[in-house]
């Protein structure tokens, strides 16, 4: 392993017994600090408590509302400790601190996963392409700020793959320190845990950004391209007459090498490569001929369909029973990541011929291969040889088998299948219906089933219920033929220049970021409906990962795909797929670039000021409607520290606490007017930082409201209010009861509702207020006079 210590020495003249050298300059490791002339801000490379004051400012306004998922703590041998209602555990911790600690552990897991992913990817790419391989994510289209999050947090400008290693050293250290603070007998205060949660999220954003910078630069993914190609999505687009390789996970090198080997062997048109989860998005970014099966929830249905002749898994979001499930369809599994070995024998150093032979002849049901090049060859050759033998052997039953199986359903009184289902789907009724020969009930479950298969585990008769659901919907499944815009990567600086003003002034009513996984309460269409609603309203809709797929798997009322209707530009009315999960920092990065490019705020190690700017001016809201994982938690917490609110779907309440503002507490909603230093009431803008919505309708109303910011001009506020009121009236059939909190002057009032709202304002005793130059930071006040923090 190469040393990466920052050592540099220079000799004007070196003379020894064997040589005489002039002008020798030697660098060991990377020295990226001399490549950017912007002066350092106050907080480059922040450690755990550097930004604590900023966090506590946010947490004073957005206090945690704890929703304990477990009443006990079972993390040490003094436990289990009952923490119910104020009791403290043996270590002294109470339920609030325990919940925050669990959130921190979750966010550390999420951050470590992205950072580990980034480390693996960067090391692989350095080994293959060299440490000096340049970072370029769109220089030709004017992306000068290539790494806004890294520049902001770490305070350096990475130019080569080698530079990224140093940033990874920093973020890895932070995650280790954060995790250490969760140990028994360390941190004991819930708000300090929360501050560390924010730190984990911020660090995670850096880790993700590094991963995407590296892969965009080296693999030639679309570089800030609003017209990234439309690629095929859905089970129906896969040509099952061909040998098919299914790739699952997030870390794309094995998929890339599969595609490379196919091309080198002239097999590109003879084999299908289809993927699930973010690896598939990134495979299409590498080669638009790759296909996407669907989001994480499509995993088991596709494996059991037997369409894949070989399954290649890398890391993250892979069913941990994938090897067991694949054996049912006689599909070999190739695991490729040290983090996910699946109990398979390590064949990395075995000859390819031997591995292929064993897999094709069924002597081995899988192999662990850490070398992506070898994975490419083994997967392609195995699929080619095995496909004619397997003949797409499947375990999805025929209709007659479903009917017979349903007749064996015990119709248990307390429906364990339904009680095991996260969404309480009416499985027992569907089985009863099927037993009578009608499969409609089972078929109706197909779109809303998240594929967890807990129903099967719970079934007292061991019936393969999920298979019945899929089998009853086979026609529907095979007709899944959609398009998705391949991930475009970063937002161009020129796009930021164009929309920065309208966003900050409020004339573009907001940026809605639909991100995260597929644990939807009522199916993926809800995400698409939210995207469509806000795109129609001329918000900027951004998306990534499984949410981006769900948007693609939807047709509007005219039968059109949303990616074909709405442009991929970061502009009003766009639906912007940035890419896989690790592309999420491009969304945060866009907000950061607005502060940097449009408002000319210093970026370098200047986190607090930039976050203050974003929180008060950039009307962005994240929606993770189907958030599942610890990664989703850490992604959300990265947004929180920037002051960007996040809405989750109803399952998101299981994240153990919300960060909620109180609009009824007037004292919480004051900012400094940077022009005068006076404190000004600005209303609950934005009202919450982390919020669970019960329904998609509530999410839409809340998202529109959370886009309001203290800096909105009267025209901007008028537009935002109009959207909020319109959605409220449409879904709740009544005017909002808090309009008076958002109106500063009468010029804020939407023209068509002016008289109606004026009556409400009069009833509420509303008084006109000024529109300040808002900041939460006394040091940002322009006057020379020192302002106290309180």
């Amino acid at each position: 392993m190469t040393s990466r210590k920052n050592v540099k020495f220079k000799f004007d003249k070196l003379k020894s017994e064997t040589a005489e050298i002039d002008g020798l300059e030697v660098s060991i490791g990377k020295l990226i600090r001399e490549k950017w002339d912007e002066p350092y801000g106050p907080t480059p490379s922040p450690s755990l408590a550097t930004l604590r004051e900023w966090d506590l400012k946010l947490l004073k306004r957005y206090k945690p509302f704890y929703l304990p998922y477990c009443d006990v703590c079972c993390l040490c041998t003094m436990g289990k400790c009952d923490l119910t209602a104020g009791k403290r555990g043996a270590c002294g911790l109470d339920i609030c601190a325990q919940q925050s600690r669990i959130v921190l552990i979750a966010c550390c897991m999420g951050a470590a996963t992205h950072i580990g992913h980034a480390r693996h990817l960067v090391e692989h790419l350095i080994e293959k392409y060299g440490r000096d391989s340049p970072i370029d994510v769109g220089r030709s289209v004017g992306v000068d700020i290539e790494a806004p999050v890294t520049r902001l947090v770490y305070g350096e400008k990475p130019e080569t793959l080698g530079d990224l290693e140093e940033v990874l050293d920093y973020v890895e250290k932070q995650v280790t320190q954060l995790l250490a603070s969760t140990h028994t007998g360390q941190e004991g205060d819930n708000l300090d845990f929360e501050s560390k949660v924010f730190h984990a999220g911020m660090i995670d954003q850096v880790g993700m950004e590094i991963a995407d910078l590296a892969q965009i630069s080296v693999y030639g993914f679309p570089k800030a391209d609003p017209e990234a190609p439309l690629v095929e999505l859905g089970i129906g687009v896969i040509d099952t007459t061909k040998p098919t390789i299914l790739v699952i996970g997030h870390n794309v090198p094995p998929s890339v090498e599969i595609i490379n080997y196919m091309e080198e062997s002239g097999l590109s048109d003879s084999i299908e490569v289809a993927g699930i989860c973010c690896t598939s998005i990134d495979a299409t970014r590498y080669n638009p001929k790759a296909k996407i099966v669907g989001p994480i929830s499509w995993q088991l249905r596709f494996i059991r369909s037997g369409m894949a002749d070989v399954i290649v898994v890398d890391e993250q979001c892979i069913r941990t029973d994938v090897a067991i499930e694949a054996q049912k369809t006689m599909t070999p599994v190739i695991a490729t990541a040290e983090k996910n070995c699946l109990g398979l024998p390590n064949r990395t150093n075995d000859p390819v011929d031997e591995i292929v032979k064993d897999l094709v002849e069924g002597k081995a049901h899988g192999a662990l291969i850490f070398d992506p090049d070898k994975v490419g060859e083994v997967a392609v050759r195995t699929a080619t040889l095995l496909a004619p033998k397997r003949k797409k052997f499947k375990v999805i039953p025929e209709i007659s088998e479903i009917l017979e199986g349903a007749s064996k359903c015990a119709q248990c009184r307390f429906a364990p299948c339904m009680r095991a289902c996260p969404n309480n789907l009416p499985i027992r009724e569907a089985m009863e219906q099927a037993a009578k020969g009608d499969l409609e009930g089972l078929s109706n479950l197909y779109e809303v089933c998240i594929g967890c298969v807990r129903c099967e585990s719970a079934c007292t008769n061991d019936l393969p219920i999920h298979n019945y659901i899929v089998g009853a919907s086979i026609k529907k499944m095979m007709e899944e033929k959609y398009k998705i815009r391949s991930g475009r990567g970063p937002i161009q600086d020129v796009e930021i220049r164009k929309v920065g003003g309208p966003i900050v002034l409020g004339e573009i009513p907001g940026v809605i970021a639909l991100v995260g996984c597929a644990n939807y309460p009522k199916g993926g269409n809800e995400v698409a409906e939210i995207a469509e609603e806000f795109a129609k309203r001329r918000f900027i809709v951004t998306t990534s990962g499984c949410s981006a797929m769900s948007i693609g798997m939807y047709r509007d009322e005219d039968g059109r795909n949303l990616y074909e209707v709405y442009p991929g530009e970061f502009d009003a009315g766009g639906i912007v797929n940035v890419g896989s999960c690790v592309a999420n920092p491009h969304i945060a990065g866009a907000a950061i670039k607005i502060a940097s490019i449009f408002a000319r705020r210093k970026l370098r190690g200047n986190y607090e000021e930039i976050a203050d700017y974003i929180h008060n001016r950039v009307g962005a809201v994240g929606i993770a409607w189907g958030a599942i994982t610890q990664k989703a938690a850490s992604i959300a917490s990265g947004f929180w520290r920037l002051g960007i609110p996040v809405i989750v779907g109803p399952h998101g309440s299981k994240y153990r606490r919300m960060l909620l503002g109180r609009k009824d507490r007037k004292e919480d909603w004051y900012v400094y007017d940077a022009r005068t230093g006076e404190k000004v009431f600005v209303g609950p803008c934005p009202e919450h930082l982390f919020y669970t919505a019960e329904t998609k309708e509530e999410a839409m109303v809340m998202a529109a409201k959370l886009c309001m910011r203290p800096n909105d001009t009267a025209r901007g506020r008028m537009i935002k209010l109009a959207h909020y009121i319109d959605l409220h009236k449409r879904f709740y059939k009544v005017m909002p009861d808090d309009i008076h909190l958002f109106v500063r002057t009468e010029t804020d009032l939407p023209i068509t509702m002016k008289e109606e709202i004026k009556k409400i304002l009069a009833e509420k005793g509303w008084k006109e207020n000024i529109i300040p130059d808002p900041t939460l930071l006394p040091r940002m006040v322009h006057t020379k006079e020192e302002k106290s923090d309180e």
Partner: protein
């Protein structure tokens, strides 16, 4: 089955809800409470009970008890359509306020001491009730859903719809008797 959470994995902690075996328990608790609130989630509108919707039952209970309703999410529209006066607040917001002893309530007269919950998705209501169990020790909560909610103070067990309807009708009848 009597005190098992409806969703199998939602195992509660040491303190679990008492089971409402007789509807009179609900009536008695409301009568005893000083300030009662009813929180009605959007799923209430989705439960078809034959001639009437579960929303209609809640209106009858709230009306006869003279207790205010907070409708969450788009349940609001159901009450508006029925022209029944309610307040609205999201489930998270009302949960958050209920744990604050300083909250002035919907009418400015102070915090509530009893809250009836119904119709929020099971797992979401579960987490809110858990939050209140831990952080609002003086608040009593009753789940009127037909599923056992372990984090409420009182809850029905897991019962079939017809049993549930009978319970709700009995509650309504008993309020009228005692009125």
């Amino acid at each position: 089955m009597s005190n098992e959470p409806w969703q199998i994995g939602e195992i509660a902690g040491p303190k679990k809800a008492l089971i409402i075996t007789k509807p009179s328990v609900v009536v008695g608790m409301v009568k005893k409470a000083k300030r009662t609130l009813m929180v009605v989630g959007h799923q209430t509108a989705e439960i078809d009970l034959g001639e009437e919707n579960a929303i209609d039952y809640m209106i009858k209970i709230a009306d006869r008890f003279k207790i205010p309703i907070v409708a969450t999410a788009n349940a609001v529209s159901e009450f508006v359509e029925r022209n029944y006066p309610i307040s609205w607040m999201s489930a998270m917001d009302i949960g958050n306020r209920l744990q604050d002893p300083e909250w002035e309530g919907l009418d400015g007269k102070g915090q509530y001491d009893l809250v009836l919950f119904i119709g929020i998705p099971y797992y979401m209501e579960w987490t809110i009730l858990s939050g209140l169990k831990h952080t609002a020790p003086n608040l009593k909560t009753i789940s009127l859903d037909r599923y056992y909610h372990p984090h409420a103070s009182w809850s029905f067990s897991n019962i079939k719809i017809d049993e549930w309807v009978t319970y709700l009708k009995t509650i309504i009848g008993q309020i009228e008797e005692k009125a």
